[in-house]
């Protein structure tokens, strides 16, 4: 069991930035094909603006109380602690599967078709469980390394694709309809799950500034725009023929005869999903007991694995687990409603002098 040591909020937000960026890495034709690059850029801005709104209650909570929802639940509403922990546990199990399913599918179809997906999931979850036992502080330290690796991968991916950019046939016109706007904006609201992580773990951070989450979302937007830009102008119509356009972009990247950036992309996607799932397990363990509780982490790792196996065999379960609207609704409850409720509970308790 870990003793709770507060660490830099900047480092924590850096980890959340990397988690948010993994959404676009695992994009699998989720965006409308009718939408042009400029239209998608508008959708990115709209989606991330909604994400910022999702952040507001937990930011206010952190600013006022220097604590998170789970700590406040223990302090103000001990009777509601268990239902709240159960809700967050279910939410994080759901979200972990939301990311694991496309990642394992991508790994299996694009890179390693000979290995059974369940084995890849098992090994991945073992790694995540180990990291979760070490706590948020250690995972966020890993985030520094991952940030540098992501920087290198992005430089290679974008730099190597420069020669394939074609501005003569694919323009900057604003082209798209209302349905495309709704579909794409909903997709770009997906990174709001980092607001739920922030709501659960921000209590262990110090030196928080309001600008940190703003910069996190701005950098996320820049990364999304860069990937969408290169997919639109470097891959063109070819992107629509293949699954996981970001992976195809990494295959296209080359420097003269030297190619093979896809292994960098795959390593980045693997480490990002690893960090997401490990952070989710940390949040679950914080809700149940304290940061890095091994028993809780192991139990929920087994639950995630069991649900993954179920989803691979029963398609209806998989459809529920990868439903973006359900994810956003659950995120709204986890990141907006519950932290907002605790702002009022805290205010009421302070007024009554408890």
């Amino acid at each position: 069991m870990q003793t709770e040591v507060k660490f830099s909020s900047k480092r924590f937000l850096l980890s959340l930035l990397l988690c948010a960026c993994s959404v676009i890495l695992l994009q699998n034709n989720d965006l409308s094909s009718n939408a042009s690059f400029t239209f998608n850029a508008v959708c990115i801005a709209a989606g991330l603006a909604v994400c910022f709104l999702f952040f507001l209650p937990s930011l206010a909570l952190k600013k006022k109380t220097d604590s998170d929802v789970l700590s406040l639940a223990r302090r103000y509403t001990p009777k509601l602690r268990i239902p709240l922990a159960v809700f967050y546990a279910l939410y994080f199990v759901y979200t972990a599967l939301y990311f694991l399913l496309p990642y394992i599918d991508m790994f299996h179809t694009k890179y390693f078709p000979e290995v059974t997906p369940c084995l890849i999931t098992f090994i991945m979850l073992l790694g995540c469980a180990y990291a979760a036992c070490k706590g948020v502080n250690v995972i966020s330290r890993f985030g520094i390394f991952l940030f540098l690796f992501a920087l290198l991968t992005n430089i290679l991916m974008f730099g190597g694709s420069l020669s394939e950019l074609d501005f003569s046939h694919y323009g900057f016109e604003l082209q798209g309809d209302f349905n495309s706007f709704i579909q794409n904006t909903l997709y770009f609201v997906t990174p709001s799950f980092i607001a739920a992580i922030f709501a659960c773990c921000s209590g262990v951070t110090k030196n928080f500034r309001f600008r940190q989450p703003v910069f996190t979302l701005i950098f996320t937007g820049l990364k999304y725009t860069a990937i969408v830009f290169f997919v639109w102008f470097a891959l063109g119509d070819y992107a629509g023929r293949q699954t996981y356009p970001a992976f195809v972009l990494s295959r296209v990247a080359h420097f003269g005869p030297f190619a093979g950036i896809e292994s960098f992309y795959l390593a980045l996607a693997t480490m990002s999903v690893f960090m997401i799932v490990a952070l989710f397990l940390c949040c679950i363990s914080r809700g149940a007991c304290t940061d890095g509780d091994r028993k809780t982490v192991l139990i929920f790792t087994v639950i995630i694995f069991a649900l993954y196996v179920t989803a691979t065999y029963i398609n209806s379960v998989k459809e529920i687990l990868v439903n973006p609207v359900l994810l956003i609704l659950l995120t709204f409850v986890a990141a907006v409603m519950l932290p907002a409720a605790y702002i009022f509970v805290g205010r009421k308790s302070n007024a009554t002098g408890n």
Binding site: D166, D237, Y238, V252, H254
Partner: protein, 197 residues
């Protein structure tokens, strides 16, 4: 004792997951580096050249109507462990490109294992014969293609740009490389009319 068991366990796991237990020599791995397409009599023939450490290419002729059919036949009848992930060059004879080029590029665009930046070029029959003689020919062709692209960026030298040109509406033609050979290899450009394909 515990440390020894842990080390043995790690070695065993690493061997299994790294694929070392299932390793093959490069000659027997059936990695295809280059495919040429030409006509022999009335039949279109796809020749798959394997990656090898020697200087002489080792090609297998597969008569088929399309690249998709040729790949399936090659896997079933000729090369069971066929791997096209490292395919670098597709050479189409000037006699057959009108018949197969668009369908083949379309098929390749749907396959995850193919590299989108592999080169595609048209060539005459002498070049097809030359590539059977030595592995050096492929290297020279690739160098010439890179040089051509550098001098004229509008020429389409890989699957990605050729597929996008076929998929595009509005323009009737686009340029691709053409390799001719009498004494030595010579790379030029040829305009392809989308309507005739």
């Amino acid at each position: 004792m515990r440390r020894g068991i842990s080390i043995l366990l790690i070695i065993a796991v690493a061997t299994v997951f790294s694929g070392c237990d299932n390793s093959r020599q490069i000659e027997t791995a059936s990695i295809i580096k280059n495919v040429s397409v030409d006509r022999r009599g009335s039949q279109v023939v796809y020749t798959f050249y394997r990656l090898s450490s020697g200087e002489t290419p080792w090609g297998i002729d597969v008569p088929a109507d399309s690249f998709e059919e040729a790949c399936a036949l090659a896997r079933d009848m000729y090369i069971p462990n066929l791997s096209l992930a490292k395919l670098e060059l597709l050479m189409l004879s000037e006699d057959v490109y009108e018949e197969v080029m668009q369908d083949d590029v379309d098929y390749i665009s749907t396959q995850a294992s193919f590299s989108p930046i592999a080169y595609v070029t048209l060539c005459d029959d002498t070049t097809i014969e030359k590539i059977k003689e030595t592995n050096r020919t492929q290297r020279v062709i690739e160098e010439q293609l890179i040089l051509l692209k550098k001098n004229n960026p509008s020429v389409n030298i890989n699957y990605l740009s050729i597929f996008n040109n076929f998929a595009r509406r509005g323009e009737d033609s686009f340029t691709v490389p053409f390799i001719s050979s009498e004494k030595e290899l010579k790379v030029s450009e040829i305009e392809i009319n989308r309507c005739i394909i």
